[in-house]
Amino acid sequence: MVKGTIAILGVTEETAAMIAKKLAAGYRLLFFSIETEKMKALEKEIKKTVPNADIESMACVSDASWEADFIIVDVPADKEQEIAEKIKMFCTRKIVILLLNKHKYTTGILEKLLPDTIFVKAIVDGRHVNIVSGDEEALQVTADIMQTAGLIPGLEITY
């Protein structure tokens, strides 16, 4: 089976880093963060514990999105517009998962600027994650990814 490629944008954020560590065994991962040194340290740390991990820290967020099959975004709300403009051309019809939690909100601009993507919100609360999307297949795919990341998914479809 072809190993899927997941780009994790903002990988040095707490939730994204936690998920990245668990996904390394099952997926090819492309990291992106403006905190370059922290990102490379995370890559090194994961490769020590998961020897066969296929991880690359990317210099370009557009390239990471272009190569990816799925895109996880964990950036502060005020960075959503910047990220959306850089990845817009490369994520048409791809599943884009926005990680949120009780401390992190979204302005809604990411979803608005990426109208041709399959958008999913994943709201993490401890070991649980509530997955919200208008696309049933995207809900299931995201649930599989989150389960691999050790989280317990609850699904919510929006119409």
Binding site: M1, V2, D63, W66, M89, T92
Partner: protein
């Protein structure tokens, strides 16, 4: 990203700028690195892939581990397991990249939706399928009735870039011969070509 795709469309149909913009929303842009798989045997072939840049191959691996290359896809060519694409059945083929490649992927659902919204595209896809069928019939005929040397000569005439970009052992696999036989044919072919040039004939 869509330049070559639209050039290919233009060969058969005329899309308006609006239709081209709409068309872009149906394709998944995907970058593959050299040696990365697009499809592995046993997986369903979810995508028809258009090659904007790069080079891919479609092949099977037999019980002895020998690869049999069915098709290459250069820039402007489509590639995919048609049966698996249409039925969702597990593919018997592998597709991987021989060079870093930039692809535009189309799912079956997106293809149907696109042709429903832009009916002109039905003509384009019909014509490329016709051309593909003709090429496949020719390849089968050549394989059954021509010598390896004749097949090599015809391939060189039709697709000279094959030799420049494809490793010899893969060319041999494509022609259904051993790399040693191909090497002999290429040497003989070069000598003939050189001989013809020296005599001032070609």
């Amino acid at each position: 990203m869509f330049d070559l795709l639209f050039q290919k469309f233009d060969q058969f149909i005329k899309l308006t700028e609006e239709e081209k913009e709409l068309c872009k929303t149906f394709f998944i842009p995907k970058k593959l690195r050299k040696r990365q798989y697009l499809l592995q045997e046993g997986d369903p072939n979810k995508y028809a892939a258009f090659t904007e840049k790069g080079l891919l191959r479609l092949y099977t691996v037999d019980d002895k581990g020998t690869e049999h290359i069915i098709q290459f896809a250069f820039e402007g060519w489509w590639i995919g397991d048609q049966y698996s694409f249409l039925t969702g059945e597990p593919s018997i083929y592998n597709i991987d990249a021989l060079e870093d490649s930039e692809l535009l992927l189309l799912t079956r659902q997106a293809e149907d939706e696109m042709m429903h919204k832009i009916p002109k595209l039905e003509r384009y896809f019909r014509l490329i399928l016709q051309n593909h069928l003709i090429a496949t019939q020719r390849r089968l005929t050549n394989s059954l009735s021509k010598t390896a040397e004749q097949q090599y000569k015809e391939m060189q005439g039709n697709c000279p870039s094959f030799s420049n970009r494809i490793p010899q052992h893969m060319l041999a696999s494509f022609l259904g011969i051993t790399p040693e036989t191909l090497s002999r044919i290429r040497t003989k072919y070069k000598v003939k070509e050189t001989g013809n040039k020296v005599q001032g004939t070609k």
